[in-house]
């Protein structure tokens, strides 16, 4: 047995990969339904001509849609970041580059979450 493999095996047993694998499936299904709801409201129930600033502002006046969009934002960002993390784990073999890319990835992901949540929580319609 090579030392490398014995070492990789000797890492503390963790269910992290299992948990994220399951999370990808659950979040994927949730995203599919939430996106479907989003598409129906934005593109089926309302004609594209109606969808303007005041329409979006009107929607955000309703706390239901704020929470809906917040949940969708959280799911999409975490699902996407985790997917990219797996791609990095698959293809980047250099330990340093891996750490760098993952740090950048989490930073961008958290930034998206913060900016998106900030808008959803503090949005005030501009009148006139």
């Amino acid at each position: 047995m090579t030392d490398r493999f014995v070492m990789s095996r000797a890492r503390p047993s963790s269910n992290f990969e299992l948990a994220t694998w399951l999370y990808m499936r659950v979040s994927g299904v949730l995203i599919a339904f939430l996106l479907l709801g989003h598409i129906v409201v934005m593109h089926v129930l309302h004609h594209v001509d109606e969808v303007d600033y005041s329409f979006a502002a009107g929607r955000l006046a309703n706390p239901f849609w704020r929470i809906y969009d917040l949940v969708l934002l959280g799911l999409v960002v975490s699902h996407g970041v985790n997917g990219a993390r797996i791609v990095i784990d698959d293809y980047v073999r250099s330990h340093g580059l891996r750490t760098l890319l993952k740090t950048a990835l989490w930073t961008v992901g958290i930034l998206f979450l913060v900016v998106g949540a900030f808008v959803l929580f503090t949005f005030q319609p501009v009148t006139g």
Binding site: F5, R11, S13, E17, L18, D89, D90, Y91
Partner: protein, 232 residues
Amino acid sequence: MEVKLRIKRYDSERDEKPHWQEFTVEAEPTDRVLDVLLHIKSYIDGTLVFRRSCAHGICGSDAMRINGLNRLACKTLVKDVSSPIEIEPLNGLPVIKDLIVDMQPFFEKFRIVKPYLVNDETPPPVEWRQTPEERERFDDTTKCILCASCTTSCPSFWTNREYLGPASLVQAHRFIFDSRDRAAAERLDVVNAREGVWRCRTIFNCAEACPREINITKAIGQLKKALVYNRF
């Protein structure tokens, strides 16, 4: 019929990089690719090397890449592959010479899942009994001949040599789902590691490559499912 072959030649002690060599031989359409290789070695170029043992699809020695797909040379007929037949060593394992790869990394990953029955209990007077249903559960994965076609066809393994690979997971499956075995928890720990079952992207190359037609991707899926139910 006349058969053209392009064989990837490489000698790790002499060559800097591999090169292709072409051969033209007379063969029957029902000859196997192995017969053609043996003909070349016997009558045209004795320096060509490849592994083969039983030559009947049981020992798993002569797995190689034939026209881009991993197959056993002894189970592939000349008429079933288009000419010129391109033959390369298995991808993802270090090439020693020509079609011979170093199988050591492959067998390390095989051993790590404890591919043998573990049961310290006192054996029953006659034999360990098992119902047909209990046997059926792991029947498919008993068929493995360790030819490495699956693992060396797996893109996840190509990019990450630490990944256990389909062959190792097949062995884990074979014993984890055996009602007589008592080491399922230990093996589940091994396949639950980062380089274990979670590196599988369900690409299905392994299932396509397997000369014994084991549905490997399904077996890996059952391992993932077992982990989900085992840990949550």
